[in-house]
């Protein structure tokens, strides 16, 4: 018997497949890099939570984070690694397929 769309969802990449991390990765997939402020806005997370998600994604090899100072003002920028970009693109293809299946299943 075919899997239901819900069973398919349970089998996807768990590091990517979390609402806030999916929003972070979706934003990063659409650009070369984004700054911390932008990711804060699109996720609606607190600074601490965003840092925590970025650390997990960095540890998982999906995201590269760069920090520095412009004068006395600190900046943080994030971008997808080559492996991360490939995994997120694959994940999006899976999501689009699952969503299509969910529509047919309804």
């Amino acid at each position: 018997m075919d899997q239901t769309p819900f069973a398919e969802l349970a089998a996807v990449d768990r590091l990517v497949h979390e609402p806030s991390r999916l929003a972070i990765l979706s934003a990063l997939l659409a650009c070369a890099e984004a700054d911390f402020q932008y990711l804060l806005t699109v996720t609606g997370l607190t600074k601490g939570n965003l840092s925590s998600h970025l650390s997990k994604l960095e540890s998982g090899g999906l995201v590269a984070v760069e920090k520095g100072y412009q004068g006395k003002i600190p900046w943080t920028r994030a971008r997808l690694t080559a492996d991360g970009r490939a995994r997120v693109e694959t994940h999006w293809r899976d999501l689009e397929r699952i969503r299509g299946n969910a529509r047919r299943w309804r």
């Binding site: 934003a27 650009c31 700054d35 402020q37 806005t41």
Partner: protein, 199 residues
């Protein structure tokens, strides 16, 4: 599993579309273009000195660019910034510069110089298609552009029902476009905020 839903997926899809076209979704950046078009509508129709007309248009354009840069800085402070993927929209740029813009200006020239050549106001249709393509190529959403495009296409039919010529309709179109565009960019800003802030 952290309870991801189809809504989360759709929101992430919108975030992706807005991020990919972030520059174009910062509506207020382009707000000065509306008044520039309105000024253009009046000066092209008024009987004033040609040098004064050009001067007014150049001054309005320079002012629009200054306003755009200042508003861009405010957007950066509020929303942060993204660096686009180099060459990601090369095809869009080629189509825009080689096909859409030349067609828009050619139609405007045809309607202005040869108003009797066609039974319709060609610019109305061509500029409507330009708006639809703009919306489609910069992340969809923003249905107000379809409304504005429908208004322009409606202008295209005016010569069929009235004695108004294409030449006269050029300034009407610039006026409609200026007012409509001003409203549209404010709505762009609203829609971008709704996507960015998860509404």
């Amino acid at each position: 599993m952290a309870g991801i839903t189809i809504d989360d997926i759709e929101r992430s899809e919108r975030v992706r579309a807005v991020t990919d076209n972030f520059f174009f979704w910062q509506g207020r950046r382009f707000i000065a273009l509306g008044p520039v078009l309105i000024v253009a509508a009046f000066v092209t129709n008024a009987r004033i000195d040609e040098r004064l007309t050009k001067g007014l248009l150049i001054a309005a354009t320079v002012l629009a660019l200054i306003v755009s840069a200042r508003i861009g800085r405010r957007y950066r402070a509020e929303f942060g910034s993204v660096r686009p993927i180099p060459g990601a929209h090369a095809l869009r740029s080629r189509i825009k510069w080689l096909l859409v813009y030349p067609a828009m200006f050619a139609s405007l020239a045809l309607d202005s110089l040869y108003p009797q050549a066609l039974p319709v106001f060609l610019s109305g249709f061509v500029w409507a298609v330009g708006l639809v393509l703009y919306r489609k190529s910069t992340g969809q959403g923003r249905v107000h552009y379809l409304t504005l495009a429908a208004c322009l296409a409606g202008l295209g039919l005016v010569p069929l029902a009235t004695a108004i010529t294409g030449r006269e309709l050029v300034s009407v179109m610039l006026l409609v476009l200026g007012a409509g565009y001003t409203a549209a960019v404010l709505l762009d800003d609203d829609e971008m905020r709704a996507v960015m802030k998860g509404a």
